[in-house]
Symmetry: none
Subunit: 198 residues, 4 copies
């Protein structure tokens, strides 16, 4: 029971921080604001986190690990053709992030901050993503779906960027989620068409 409550307080803080970071950015959000919004005292935050930096970091790691696990599971279980898997994966990620706008905003903006703490996290996230994609592409190569001299690393980087870009544009212009998914589908298809062996 105590355990449960502990979880609840921590979650309230994370939710509050995510929301405020998304709305105002990391630097324009004060720990006092996070506390007030989470309906706890400032001191309480420091019971669960060592510093303001830590909130951001843990928030990221938690979210991204879950996302990666979900994707990986999707990739492993299915027997679909690898390039279709890739399209599905990209759609899934965009869809998932679009369901938690606050997280998406934090993900897009703060991941690029040259914040001391994040300097350490951001590359790790991207590396995890790349490993996933490269495995898929190697599989595709093995099946002869990709030309031999296609650079799989470049594709990893690019697809990550396309996800970011599409989300960022959507957040900025505020159109419907359907339009976002449609845009992502299109750009992913263009790109995959470009690398597919014909």
């Amino acid at each position: 029971m105590a355990r449960l409550k502990k979880k609840k307080v921590r979650d309230k803080i994370v939710a509050s921080a995510t929301k405020l970071f998304a709305k105002q950015g990391y630097f324009c959000t004060s720990v006092n604001q996070i506390a007030k919004n989470a309906e706890v005292a400032v001191g309480t935050i420091y019971v669960y986190f060592d510093s303001k930096d830590e909130i951001l970091i843990e928030l990221f790691i938690d979210y991204f690990r879950k996302l990666m696990e979900e994707i990986e599971e999707k990739f492993q279980n299915s027997k679909t053709e690898p390039l279709t898997k890739l399209l599905n994966g990209l759609r899934y990620m965009v869809n998932k992030l679009s369901e938690d706008i606050d997280m998406a905003k934090v993900f897009l903006v703060e991941l690029r901050q040259s914040n001391k703490a994040l300097n350490f996290i951001a590359p790790k996230i991207q590396k995890d993503y790349e490993k996933l994609i490269k495995k898929l592409l190697d599989e595709a190569k093995d099946q002869g779906l990709l030309n031999e001299n296609i650079d799989t690393q470049v594709i990893s980087i690019s697809t990550f960027g396309l996800i970011e870009t599409m989300l960022f544009d959507w957040l900025n212009r505020g159109y419907s989620k359907e339009k976002l998914i449609d845009n992502m589908e299109k750009t992913a298809r263009y790109f995959v068409n470009g690398i597919r062996n014909i």
Copy 2:
């Protein structure tokens, strides 16, 4: 002569700010640091700029306007095939930005900050870019180089994202400029291949 000196001081401030914003980010750079690095007094900064925000904004506008003008000129003067023009343009932008690493960093990171100031600038920059690209793509469509149902807006957004992504990856991993250009070439070719009418 006085005019010349005035220009010089302003330029020193802009250079100092760009460098520091790139290294530490906007929020972790203090006006005092900018002043010290530019070898002027703090007060001098406020002779040329109304606020710290203004430095960032003017710095962006100045740089981006120049970049856009150069690209536009390249596009207009040449009689090359439109899709090749697009490839050339993307290469040119990456090349240009890679030559001023500090500016590139600021461009990639701060443009996403939801700062009051930037909320105003970022969309304008992207809109300028889009207009340029769409004109090119419409030209390509007219010449039958693109399939009729290709979404030119999505392509504009995507190519902007690919430039950002490639640069960001390069800055993070620190490989050679040749490798960066090569990566950009590849991803651009993949993408253009995907939309080209065959």
Copy 3:
């Protein structure tokens, strides 16, 4: 207990501010000085007050409300003749203010500053004072002690001014408190003689 301490810190800040505002004026007193003199950290001041302005405002309101309540009580309880009440009231106010020189100085000087904050406070104080005096004078008129065509509003304004002037002169020239009270008695008597119906 915590409550008690909280009250004490606030009081220390108010006392420190009053003293320094009196000695140096509002603008020549820095928040750092107030903090140092109150033996608290600068930040502590902003726990209790929103801004430097607020300190001045709250300090005034607190003091003046108390003073008005005391006078009102004196006026209501006594069955003395109204014009004697007036003389007593004026003497009481001068006496009271002379006992807290710092407060008197702030009262005399800062009340005239056209500070945004004070523009709001000063009129309120004077209105409260006027209401009190006019009630007394109307009473006197009813008893036939004042000529019918005496302007009670003018008298309110004037007596307020006489208090201010006598105090200001005393502070400037630094004579004994007895002399101050004596001067106030005299001028009040001259004035009341001038309006009394004979």
Copy 4:
């Protein structure tokens, strides 16, 4: 001609300072503002005045000297009864100050500032005023118009205060100049009635 221009520039500065001090107060007015408003360069101000303080001081002295000279002349030339002269003098001063609202504001507010510079000037002004009034009252005493044990010093102080108060109230509440003059007449008559020997 050069002389004339010199005068003109100085006057422009004084007029600008008076206006701004009246509107914003001494401390909230910057030298740059004064310069801009006077349509001269900042440096020019320091050609004519040693410091910001000096502007305020000279502005006061200039104005008050003229005012006193005018009153003195009025008092000397006339053969009117002294107490009527006093009433006339008070009316004249209020009338004069009410014609230059900016100067009146500065006069009323800044004269009380514990500004280092003015600490020296304010008493001098009041002393000049007192000397004038006491001379008049002594004359009245000699003619048997005042009771022997009337305190002429107190009256000097009080009448100065009444002028200030009436003006201050007028500025605060913003009624017509006729009403101001009427109020001053009334309060002066009440007061003089109170001291007149009957």
